[in-house]
């Protein structure tokens, strides 16, 4: 199997308030011999808020982000659900709206850039599962997570809207070029089917499968595909606390001793706000919340300090002792 190589779009959070996400992502890539090229020219994706203020600006900045991956001839890997959705929303728009594409490309032309639509954009979670493969991953596990009950928290923007998820996060079928030169399989029923492959937004499985591959016990609980409320935390903290607190308590009541999520915004909200959510809901909440790559790195034998466990607010003390 050829070496996997991607352009890494880190987003802001991994370079700021969740440095542990970046260090653990790089640690996993190193262990698995995956090459990640940091898109150093990239800007913030707007975190789903910039588009509310100025849509064309959001599309242009994100097209520029994708351009730098296209220039390098690489597909993009994201490590934040919201980055993922913002980039694919841009891609979807520019791939299907020639007028908007022309407008955006006009602004980019000044810097010798042109959005072409040649790079795929996927979340690291799905690259691990579909490109690297869970069977291969299983073979690399040196610290099985056997003693842990891990609650997967999927985060909205990877799984919804599902038509975007399936089109972009799912592995792309090989494009068969028919005799006339047209693409055949791209339009095939299986590819465009709403719930093909493994992720049904009402009963997602990818994170569960990942946990199992690392020999952890998955916690089945109703809130796993619900929203954490992060995006209204400033203007409506009660909403945000109610949603994150309910999900955390649901996991706790189903015997979780860890939660794991592929989204750093969910992680921040669920990790940082346990006291205020607990106060609002009238119950104590204490549950360490890991980033998906932190969990993988631990199972691959990385040390707590390599993956920034000290940066998690609710400390996974039991993990630190074990390792």
């Amino acid at each position: 199997m050829p070496k996997l190589k991607y352009a890494l779009y880190t987003g802001c959070t991994a370079k700021e308030s969740t440095p542990e996400l970046l260090s653990s992502t790089l640690a996993v890539a190193k262990k698995l011999d995956i090459e990640l090229v940091d898109l150093v020219e990239a800007s913030c994706c707007g975190a789903s808020h910039l588009q509310d203020f100025d849509e064309v600006l959001s599309l242009t900045l994100n097209a520029r982000n994708i351009c730098y991956a296209e220039q390098r001839g690489l597909d993009v890997i994201t490590i934040c659900n919201t980055c993922q959705l913002n980039l694919v929303t841009t891609k979807e728009r520019l791939d299907h709206d020639p007028e908007m594409r022309a407008k955006v490309n006009e602004a980019l032309a000044e810097f010798g850039l042109e959005y072409k639509g040649t790079s795929q954009v996927r979340h690291f979670l799905y690259a691990l599962i579909d490109d690297y493969g869970l069977d291969r991953l299983r073979e690399q596990v040196t610290q099985p997570l056997k003693s842990h009950n891990i609650a997967p928290f999927y985060g909205c923007h990877n799984i919804r809207p599902s038509h975007l998820h399936h089109k972009h996060n799912a592995p792309q079928p090989e494009l068969e070029v028919s005799e006339g030169g047209g693409e055949v399989s791209y339009e095939s029923e299986e590819f465009l089917g709403k719930y093909n492959h493994h992720e049904n937004p009402y009963a997602p499985t990818s994170l569960d499968e990942l946990i199992k591959a690392l020999e952890g016990n998955t916690v089945d609980y109703e809130s796993k595909n619900k929203c954490c409320g992060f995006h209204v935390d400033l203007q409506a903290p009660e909403t945000s606390n109610a949603l994150s607190g309910t999900a955390l308590l649901d996991a706790i009541d189903n015997n979780a001793d860890l939660m794991v999520t592929p989204c750093p915004l969910c992680q921040l909200n669920m990790d940082l706000k346990q006291d205020s959510a607990g106060k609002q809901l009238g119950r104590d909440i204490e549950l360490p919340v890991l980033h998906m790559p932190q969990m993988v790195a631990l199972a691959l034998g990385c040390k707590p300090e390599e993956i920034g466990l000290n940066h998690n607010v609710t400390k996974a003390t039991h993990l630190m002792y074990e390792m």
Partner: protein
Amino acid sequence: MSMSTQTKNITIKAFRFNAETDYLPTYKTYEMAVGKDELILDLLNRIKWEHDGSFSYRRSCRHGICGACGIKVNGKPVLSCKQNAQDMIDLFGDELVFEPQSQKRAVKDMIIDKGDFWEKHAAIKPYVEADVDPHPTTETLMSKTKVEQFLDADYCIQCGGCHYACPTLEVNDKFFGPAAFAAAYRFAIDPRDDAAKERLEMTAELGQGVWDCVKCNECVEACPKEVNPFEKITKLHNMQFEQGVAERNVATKHAEGFTRSIKKFGYLDEQDIVLYSEGLGVVKHLSEALKMVKAGKVHPFDVMKKKMPRSEKLDEIQTIIEKVQTSKLD
């Protein structure tokens, strides 16, 4: 022969409840063989006709247009008369759970009290408000571009699927909800309409308006008519800025603040955006801020922003913002 042409044996667990006599709901189990062309509505009928005549649910048109027959199957909002049953079996396996759209509003079995939905729908003024000549001599024509601006918002059949899937509404009674927003957009964008500003003001208000949406996309997923309410919510945000309706508050400053930050660093200055959006209100984040400092997530004494990451080719980003940005917040 492919699997999907065969009959499948399944178990249905149906939510049973009568608000007049029951304190708690129960789930009753029904076994049946489901043919490949059967709809969820056919299965509801069969429960009633073959098992229990008292089983209650709403339906009328059976053509996906009256919006009466929405329920949840294994948590997924569906329009019973449009949803193929074997597709649900493919998705969820051979145990299907039938529940009303909202359990806390259940009246009898699948039937709910949809009063809150209709109240919010009415509040948004779901009709064109205009001085129309009662005896026009010519037709009012609409251009193709104008029609395209409706963005499928007028396909809404008020089934309530999105409304009762919305987590914000679950915890905030004041929130208008996705269907009302889709309607607000549909009429605010109508070139004949005179009440756009009023609707934009209603949807700009904190608590009830679009700024309280958690952006979960449950409404997009729920809609059987591809209305994509979340897209309309984004449009309403944009229109608030374009038409000068947006007032300076924590939410609008937050959206606008991204440009300010990206201009400086290429990245979002996470500390600054909270400070900027909240103003003096920032004190309420103090205990969380301290936790972040303790965990080494933020650097309070980094006045020169040395720890702040910066994009390479920042000048490109700055030029783009200067040239492309059209919205502003006064």
